[in-house]
């Protein structure tokens, strides 16, 4: 159960992680794509800016050409009114093209005019920015001299001679361009070496930068002395080498802009996706837990049911067995009782038959009766009555013994005498049998109940006679061991099967070999109970067809324990 829930949790975790990884991957790809786009875009911006700068640089000599390739300028520069020259070569250029400074040198390289920001400046003030201007002037002059020195037609046309450089003037980057002032028509001719040279200085100031920005469509383009990491920039490099400053702008990053636009939607999307995954996982987990719980409950119910069924079955089985046992016991008791009733009836009928028959005989012979005959019949009747009384007594005493109502009356008893008397009585009743007695080893007396002990030996001796009809010898032997007296009564009669022996002392039980022999099945039971009450014991050995030996053991000191037990 727990395993399922754990697996469900793991599934949810894995799905969440996968979603997160997918999100990271997508973000990474987008980032790379945007960086690429931004790079491309930046390269383009750089290209535009560079091109714009280049155009601005190239514009200066082109602009300068408009006033240096002009007949009037050739004519007026040396001799014409100063105002005219200054206005046309300087002020106008400042106003129209934004040339910050204009210098005009005469053929002897002396400074003829200086115009600063459209104003005529006395030549003497030209000081600190002389050097870069002079250098360009010298470059142009060198080309002119070279041209003058040779008549080669391959030499450049006069109006094609120019020199342009980016230099630093007054710590500011500036485009400086120099050209000779040459006629624009064939009407004027100019001797070589007679050329005036005009030099224009145009600072890369805000105006220029604006134009580049306009061209490159970069609003925030500006000039900066230092490079800044947060700005894209191209260096403004002097023609002599060395970086003068930077044209910097806030780079346009379309990729980044796109990402910035996409990010909220993307983040929201990922959050929603992960939310969905977690929600589904949670749902799955809840479902799994519920399933596990119901499965557990189901299994528990099944187990409980099985247990209940098992217990019920066992209980029913137990009750059935108990009922079977009780029924068997009841049947056994019933059978024993039926047997007893049949036997008792037979046993009563036999002496009754003798009495009745004797009475009938007396009656039938009443006319010829002799006293001896009457005596003989009376004796028969009395003997039969005695038998009935004995039978009744034994049944009653069995009942008394069973209900525990018997109390022994112990007395000092001469056991040998009691046994001898019993033997004599039996011998009188059963003239067919001989009782061989060996009682010499018995002690003088033992403590016992006379009547009960008499009953014990009467029963055993009459049994020996009854179940040995064709073996007349009955041996009665006695001996003493420790404080016990032992008496054994052995016959050579019909004997019993070993299976009958354990049940022999049960009430109404009769061995199978006793079939056909009259008996109630209570005699041995009575014997056993009496011997037990005396604290003694009885044992039996028997072989079917060979005979039976009963051995009674009685304590010499009497049944005190048994009595006290009875009293308790």
């Amino acid at each position: 159960m727990q395993k399922d829930i754990r697996i469900t949790s793991h599934v949810t975790l894995v799905l969440t992680l996968l979603t997160a990884m997918a999100a990271v991957l997508i973000a990474g790809f987008m980032w790379m794509a945007s960086a690429k786009v931004d790079d491309l875009s930046l390269t383009r911006q750089r290209g535009f800016v560079e091109h714009g700068l280049d155009e601005q640089v190239k514009a200066v000599p082109r602009e300068l050409e408009s006033v240096t390739t002009w007949d009037d300028a050739v004519l007026f520069a040396p001799t014409g009114p100063r105002q005219w020259v200054v206005y046309n070569l300087g002020t106008w250029m400042y106003d129209y093209f934004g040339h910050d400074r204009t210098y005009v040198f005469d053929p002897q390289d002396a400074l003829a005019y200086v115009v600063r920001e459209g104003k005529d400046i006395p030549v003497s003030t030209f000081l600190n920015d002389e050097e870069p201007v002079t250098a360009l002037r010298e470059a142009v002059r060198a080309v002119l001299r070279k041209r003058a020195a040779s008549a080669d037609t391959a030499q450049p046309e006069l109006n094609e001679i120019s020199a342009t450089e980016i230099v630093e003037i007054d710590n500011r980057p500036a485009v400086v361009s120099a050209r000779p002032i040459v006629p624009s028509s064939e009407k004027i001719s100019l001797e070589p070496g007679q050329e005036y040279i005009a030099v224009a200085v145009k600072f890369l100031d805000a105006g220029v930068v604006d134009k580049i920005a306009s061209y490159a469509q970069l609003d925030k383009l500006h000039y900066s002395a230092e490079a800044s990491p947060s700005y894209a920039a191209i260096p403004v490099v002097a023609s002599s080498g060395g970086t003068l400053g930077y044209l910097a702008w806030e780079p346009i990053r379309p990729g980044l802009m796109l990402i910035k636009q996409i990010v909220p939607a993307g983040v929201t999307g990922i959050a929603v996706a992960m939310g969905v995954v977690i929600f589904l996982g949670h749902g799955l987990r809840r479902t799994s837990i519920a399933l596990s719980k119901s499965r557990l409950a189901l299994m528990r119910h099944r187990d409980e049911l099985e247990e209940t069924v098992r217990l019920r079955t066992a209980e029913i089985e137990r009750q059935r067995e108990e009922l079977d046992r009780l029924l068997a016991q009841e049947r056994h008791v019933n059978a024993l009782q039926r047997q007893f009733v049949a036997m008792a009836s037979h046993e009563f009928r036999t002496p009754l038959a003798i009495i009745d028959a004797a009475a009938q005989r007396l009656h039938r012979t009443k006319t010829v009766l002799k006293p001896e005959y009457v005596a003989e019949k009376s004796a028969q009747i009395r003997s039969a009555v005695l038998r009935m009384v004995d039978l009744m007594e034994s049944i009653l005493s069995a009942g008394r013994l069973e209900t525990g109502k018997t109390t022994l009356k112990p007395e000092q008893l001469h056991l040998a005498e009691v046994i001898e008397r019993c033997c004599t009585r039996q011998a009188e009743i059963r003239k067919s049998h001989i009782f061989h007695q060996d009682l010499s080893k018995l002690p003088g007396t033992i403590l016992a109940d006379r009547a009960a002990i008499e009953q014990v030996f009467t029963n055993l001796l009459s049994n020996a006679v009854k179940y040995a009809p064709q073996a007349p010898d009955i041996r009665v032997r006695a001996w003493t061991k420790k404080d016990m007296s032992f008496v054994s009564i052995a016959d050579n009669g019909i004997g019993m099967d070993a299976e009958d022996l354990p049940k022999l002392f049960q009430p109404y039980y009769r061995a199978r070999s006793a079939t056909g022999i009259a008996g109630t099945g209570i005699g041995l039971n009575i014997v056993k109970q009496i011997v037990d009450l005396h604290g003694g014991s009885i044992s039996v050995e028997s072989t079917l067809g060979k005979g039976t030996t009963f051995t009674v053991a009685l304590p010499n000191k009497g049944p005190f324990a048994a009595i006290s037990k009875q009293a308790a």
Partner: protein, 133 residues
Amino acid sequence: MITVLCIDDEADIRELIVEELVDAGLAALEAANGQEGLEMILSHWPDIVICDISMPVMDGHQLLAEIQVNHPELSNIPFILLTALTDKENVLTGLRAGAADYLTKPIDFDLLMAKIAGCVTRIENDRTAGRAL
């Protein structure tokens, strides 16, 4: 002379019956159980048998069955069962096994002697008829 065999394990009963038989002018034989009875029947060929059922060694039912199975030549001897067993089962068993009659104890000598007298008459008639033939 008609001979009657009395089989009973009770000596007193036997004695009383024998006295009655002798008084009635019949010859009487005694046996104490079925086994002795069978020997007596085989050796003396009595005319009538009075037999108890509950006896040691061989009971009345066993004796009757023994005669029917192993000594069919004796099966025409009238066999009167005289017993203390009064239950129907024993009565039926005895009669089915070929007993001429089933009397119960205590003994009604009038009834017993009437039955015997009946048997005696039949036997004597048979003998007379036999002689005549």
